[in-house]
Symmetry: C2
Subunit: 487 residues, 2 copies
């Protein structure tokens, strides 16, 4: 906690100014010395650790076989990237290259990984020989570098943290199944942990991952009506298997190429969450990923020692609640040099879900004054004996409340349109997601993008085949697609 | 598990051949495509995750204030390294430099972090203004790159994983206190988790960290009599504070430089553990860090389905034991295509602490045949009803047994000498740690190194001042120091 008064820019006045301001002032992150880089400070990193723990659990508890963590090298020989044509075309403009090592010029530059398909699959080719070696189910948590010119804390940085999962299978069915299973985990991370509702679907050919056969994604909607691609899961088909010669002897004795998937979720997800839930007073962090669940604020004046003792007792009580659902700590804001009002502001800027005030009244009555970060009028008196169960219940309420507000916003901002004029009008005004028939011709897709800045985001998994006309060219179209401007 | 027979080189014949062979065959790690790099495979990475969990707990539960995780950028402007003279001299020969980003030549090359003092302290200078901002207690788990020419899996690699903790304090006393506290945690990680006894002490001036005022270390002894520097903790004094201008207004109103520490533990620690405990049959992984605690091996022949069902029941029973002491899984080796003998070999190569055999006899008698990886004659019959408590007890026994064997080896290989001839003779034969008076003149230190390859490792924390003669020059010496050849 800083000790000088922090005045926050207003979210209601400028989303992007507020966002940068709150990320810095809540001490989530700071700008790194190299342009485009970011320092993730302890408060921000603890949220990422909570996301990691949740996702690790999903991978480990997978019924058909755990996905296990591993670590592959940071440096990739440049020649590897070239082996899959679309892959190198997609990533070439964004590469960081090491050309000097140990004081000497290198014969071949090394790529600082922008993603690890190529280096991992070189190893997979070595490890996989028989159907008995399949499936290979590996994930890694690491840092990757993509040379971005414009940066935005968490949302777009030159280096970011993520997980990248890479599986290899004997059949395409099995590969698709796991790609979709992971997609569902991503939906859960967004909706159940980050409290951000998402649209789930498949990408168009032009929007899919460089080297993939198909890409699925979860897409969230930001307060300014722009979409944020939340996470992606790819069916790589046999593209990389052929480029890296990953084959195996099957049960029938034939030599076959494997079928592969890759999928990733990054620290960008936190940016989407910060941008969405906060308000003019600061961040709002959903309890399931909040580093601090409860802020206890002693009101000093008289009997300060007793009040502080009482605060510690309360913290101990609350720490008895089941941590597996709401990992995090209780924090006591007890610095007497900082005024009560200022400590309240600090807790609000940091978006701590619950706040407990303890003054003379509470001390004498063995009660507590509990309120939450989301509802301004949520203040209530709670007896000490019941505080643990109250807190647990209230954390659940706050988690649900944050999600349902975001869900309402999302639903209000999906517009089905059947005229291109309306499409253009919406993209100039409130934006949001537009649902419209599209003929799946990339010429129409790029013309729409050119004229409205909106791209296809996904075709929903739930989308049923229909019979309509392309929003642009009017030709026959079988499916409605989701369009939006995006981050 | 591979399905072809794995023949392992003998540890008793060649330590280094055996080591490389077992690391590859147990699937701990593999060579990366770029010379000097390493892939940490899931089985090896799970051990690192257990070490991380143990160390995170120590940092988080620290009574005087938790040390929290964060993340700082991979790329450091080259100019930053130059600010602390000794630091840049120490690291310059081993740097990897990024000179091209996003297709363009960079104006200033970026260093791929070999350690993060410089980039972190640039930020600390920005964040620290008042005594109220102190102490700063931050750790990060990340990857670092040091351009090594000779590599040895885990023990010396171009890129490795580690934690680096960096604290800043108002007083030097407080800094020294935390540096020593962390040193004790490192001792615990080595002795209580990796089951490797260590010597704990302070480094000589020539062996300390580039830029530190003093460095403490834990040193383990490998089976070939060479020392392995296990982890280091540095009192940085005000060297970096002055170079990066990290100052604060103290309570008395004066502007002062902070006092700093840094400290690190890397994946190298795993290499020391693998090298030490294994035998001709494979690895021996101490239960506290073992990814798999128990290998269940069904003996097939008749009533196979029932035997398999019984094996699963047993696994469930064992999973009831308290996981916080022995995190890890029970694994069932049930692939019928692999002979029983081969499956036993697999479990041994991987060093799984306990093995349970289940055949007809066990099925009919509702018993189990339990043995451990360390004692060849440890086989015993255990009733099913008691298996969980037996396993828990046996895991404790195995942990202790591995440690006490290593402790005995260490103790037998610390030789106190008072003649330089004996010093030289020992360094030519059994090696190990030598304890001898040294005058603390670096000329003697480097001459000893030149002639015997032995360097000063540490002066033990427990070392009392005495009155002796330097082992080399014969001049007055106050303390005995520990010498050894090292990895």
């Amino acid at each position: 906690m800083d000790y000088e008064k922090k005045e926050l820019k207003k979210k209601s006045q400028s989303l992007s100014d507020w966002y940068t301001d709150v990320v810095l002032k809540a001490e989530l992150a700071d700008y790194g010395p190299v342009r485009g880089t970011m320092v993730i400070r302890p408060y921000g990193y603890a949220i990422w650790e909570n996301v990691q723990a949740a996702f690790n659990k999903m991978m480990k508890n997978r019924k058909e076989g755990a996905i296990r963590n591993a670590y592959f090298p940071l440096f990739i020989p440049y020649s590897y990237l070239k082996r899959e044509k679309e892959h190198v075309e997609g990533f070439s403009p964004e590469l960081a290259l090491v050309t000097i090592g140990g004081g000497e010029e290198l014969k071949e530059p090394l790529v600082v990984r922008p993603t690890s398909e190529t280096i991992m699959y070189e190893m997979y080719a070595k490890w996989i020989k028989s159907w008995r070696d399949l499936p290979v189910l590996i994930n890694q948590w690491n840092n990757v570098v993509r040379w971005e010119k414009r940066t935005f804390l968490f949302l777009r940085t030159l280096e970011f943290l993520w997980q990248e999962g890479h599986t290899a299978h004997a059949t395409e069915d099995e590969a698709i199944q796991i790609a979709l299973e992971v997609l569902e985990w991503y939906r859960q991370i967004y909706e159940d942990y980050l409290a951000l509702p998402v649209l789930v679907g498949i990408k168009s050919d032009s929007e899919k991952f460089a080297g993939a056969k198909s890409t699925w994604a979860v897409e969230a909607l930001m307060p300014d009506g722009k979409a944020l691609q939340g996470a992606t899961s790819h069916n790589l088909g046999q593209n990389f298997a052929k480029a890296f010669n990953i084959n195996f002897q099957d049960k029938d004795g034939d030599i076959k190429y494997v079928w592969q998937t890759s999928w990733g979720l990054s620290t960008r997800s936190l940016g989407g969450m910060f941008l969405s839930h906060g308000d003019d007073h600061g961040l709002i962090i959903p309890p399931k990923v909040a580093p601090f669940k409860v802020a206890i604020l002693p009101i000093f004046g008289s009997r300060d020692e007793e009040i502080l003792e009482y605060a510690k007792r309360v913290a101990n009580e609350i720490n008895n609640i089941e941590k597996s659902n709401y990992p995090g700590e209780v924090v006591i804001f007890d610095n007497k040099e900082i005024s009560f009002g200022r400590r309240v502001n600090d807790a609000e800027i940091k978006g701590i879900p619950l706040k407990i005030e303890i003054g003379l009244k509470e001390l004498e009555g063995e009660t507590l004054t509990l309120s939450n970060r989301v509802e301004p009028s949520s203040k209530k008196e709670v007896p000490l004996a019941k505080i643990a169960s109250f807190v647990e219940e209230e954390l659940g309420n706050v988690q649900n409340l944050i999600f349902s507000r975001a869900k309402k916003f999302l639903e209000e901002n999906i517009t089905e349109v059947d005229s291109y004029d309306e499409f253009k009008r919406i993209m100039k005004t409130k934006r949001g997601f537009i649902k419209a028939y599209w003929c799946e011709n990339s010429a129409c897709e790029s013309k729409i993008k050119e004229e409205t800045k909106a791209t296809t985001r996904v075709k929903l998994l739930s989308e049923k085949e229909g019979s309509g006309k392309c929003i642009l060219c009017g030709k026959k179209a079988r499916f409605k697609w989701i369009f939006a401007q995006s981050y």
